[in-house]
């Protein structure tokens, strides 16, 4: 009579803790590598600019970053500052800012820099932490 309750205790314990073993769902994220660089206008850093990396020959997610007061950006693909997948990119730079409260945000730098065909900026991301040459905007 002693053995049975002991066995049922074990079964109950297994029932109670069994369901917690589930793993995290697989995601379709590509591996990313930390990427940073600078945006300058002449020699002056450009703050609050949005830098977008357009993958060449791939319609995937576009890594992007925002420059700080020193003109430095770090790329984000899925999570904050997680970098970008390795590969070749064309790069665009925009600076969206709301100047007039009723007008909404507008792009404050020339429109040619916001199109990958005309911006003239390109970059390569290697399989490891990458620092990109500064992108220099002409006035």
């Amino acid at each position: 009579m002693y053995k049975r309750p002991a066995i049922s205790c074990l079964v109950l314990l297994a029932l109670a803790f069994g369901p917690f073993g589930c793993g995290k769902a697989e995601s379709d994220r590509k591996p990313t590598f930390a990427v940073e660089g600078r945006v300058l206008e002449g020699t002056k850093p450009v703050a609050n600019a949005t830098v977008v990396f357009h993958p060449v020959g791939d319609a995937g997610v576009k890594p992007r970053g925002k420059t700080d007061a020193n003109g430095v950006y770090k790329l984000t693909t899925y999570d904050g500052d997680d970098g970008a997948p390795a590969g070749s990119y064309r790069v665009t730079v925009e600076l969206w800012a709301t100047v007039h409260a009723d007008a909404g945000p507008v792009n404050r730098i020339p429109a040619k820099y916001s199109r990958p065909e005309s911006s003239g900026f390109a970059a390569e991301v290697a399989e490891g932490p990458t620092t990109i040459e500064p992108f220099v905007l002409k006035k």
């Binding site: 949005t50 576009k62 904050g80 800012a97 409260a101 007008a103 909404g104």
Partner: protein
């Protein structure tokens, strides 16, 4: 005389007791989540009903006023700001609140607070959201952001961020700051919703503001400029401004994740370089797996958090001309 010998009574062994306790514990463990689910379902249903009331309010307002209420800021330098919800109050059976506020001065002035904009309105509070205790403040009080007004969880969009076009996340040409269902100053009519009223989001949830929530966790308790700009139901800054999205962790803006990731961007500086004095809220509800959405036709549906940002943007625009896949 027969003396009964007290026989040893047969009791329970320790093991038997433990087994019984374990079984009871497991039964309770099975029952509690079910109770929680029923509570959440009831809260979600109340939230749906709130949005429905607001939708009925919009439709009742439209014909006598020849259009929908908009957020009014007479000029960029004017300090008087009025949200559409204020004009809608008489259509939500809140005439008493409406009659107690003076729309010639800004909402943060003492004359407008009690019993005006500090009044909590059930119709703008989602019962799943941790609001009620939280109140919101204004940047123009001294000290700034003193908690003075009651919160609301429902907001609409002015438009879609043009940044999303560069990111290739939306239909080209639809990234405009003034193509949403809520307008600034200009009066919108239902005839302006050329995508169709049932294909345009009128209001959705952005709950928990001005505290910052990310992926279900309280990330920042509002203090000074460390806050989402928005929350107070009387504040035009409580509008969601433009659909912008974020990274999956809600830390980087813009991005491809837009629903239930974060309830907004922490200001840091005010005015903000991107939003200026406008709201920084994002789509965020405290329901599992999505948010409630009021469409301009007055219907309320549940939008899953896995909805593609392209689809969401198509629903935000009132005149984008996008074709829509089934969103349910």
């Amino acid at each position: 005389m027969v003396r009964r010998i007290p026989s040893r009574r047969r009791g329970f062994t320790l093991i038997e007791l433990l087994v019984v306790i374990a079984i009871i514990a497991i039964l309770i463990g099975l029952l509690l989540p079910a109770v929680q689910k029923v509570r959440e379902a009831a809260a979600r249903s109340t939230c749906t009903n709130n949005l429905k009331q607001l939708g009925l309010g919009f439709h009742n307002f439209h014909d006598p006023n020849n259009g929908l209420p908009s957020n009014i800021r007479p000029s960029a330098t004017s300090t008087v700001r009025v949200r559409w919800l204020t004009y809608l109050l008489p259509y939500l059976e809140q005439d008493n609140v409406y009659n107690n506020v003076n729309l010639n001065v800004n909402w943060h002035q003492p004359v407008n607070l009690a019993p005006g904009f500090s009044t909590r309105l059930k119709v703008v509070e989602c019962p799943s959201a941790p609001n009620g205790q939280i109140v919101d403040g204004a940047p123009d009080t001294s000290p700034a952001w003193t908690n003075i007004v009651a919160n609301g969880d429902y907001s609409g969009f002015y438009g879609v961020s043009p940044e999303l076009e560069t990111l290739g996340l939306i239909t080209p040409g639809t990234g405009r700051v003034n193509n949403g269902a809520i307008s600034k100053t200009t009066k919108l009519r239902f005839a302006d919703f050329t995508d169709g009223l049932s294909n345009t989001i009128h209001l959705t949830e952005s709950a928990g503001r001005p505290n910052v929530y990310r992926n279900g966790k309280l990330a920042v308790t509002a203090g000074g400029n460390n806050r989402v700009n928005g929350g107070g139901w009387c504040r035009p800054a409580s509008e969601l401004n433009v659909l912008r999205g974020s990274s999956a962790d809600g830390l980087s803006f813009p991005g491809q994740y837009a629903i239930n990731v974060t309830n907004g961007e922490a200001l840091g500086t005010y005015p903000h370089p991107y939003y200026n004095v406008d709201g920084t809220g994002q789509v965020y509800g405290f329901h599992t797996g999505g948010v409630n959405v009021l469409y301009a036709d007055g219907s309320v549906r549940f939008l899953r958090s896995t909805t593609d940002i392209r689809t969401l943007a198509a629903l935000v625009t009132r005149n984008g001309g996008e074709t829509l896949a089934n969103t349910d």
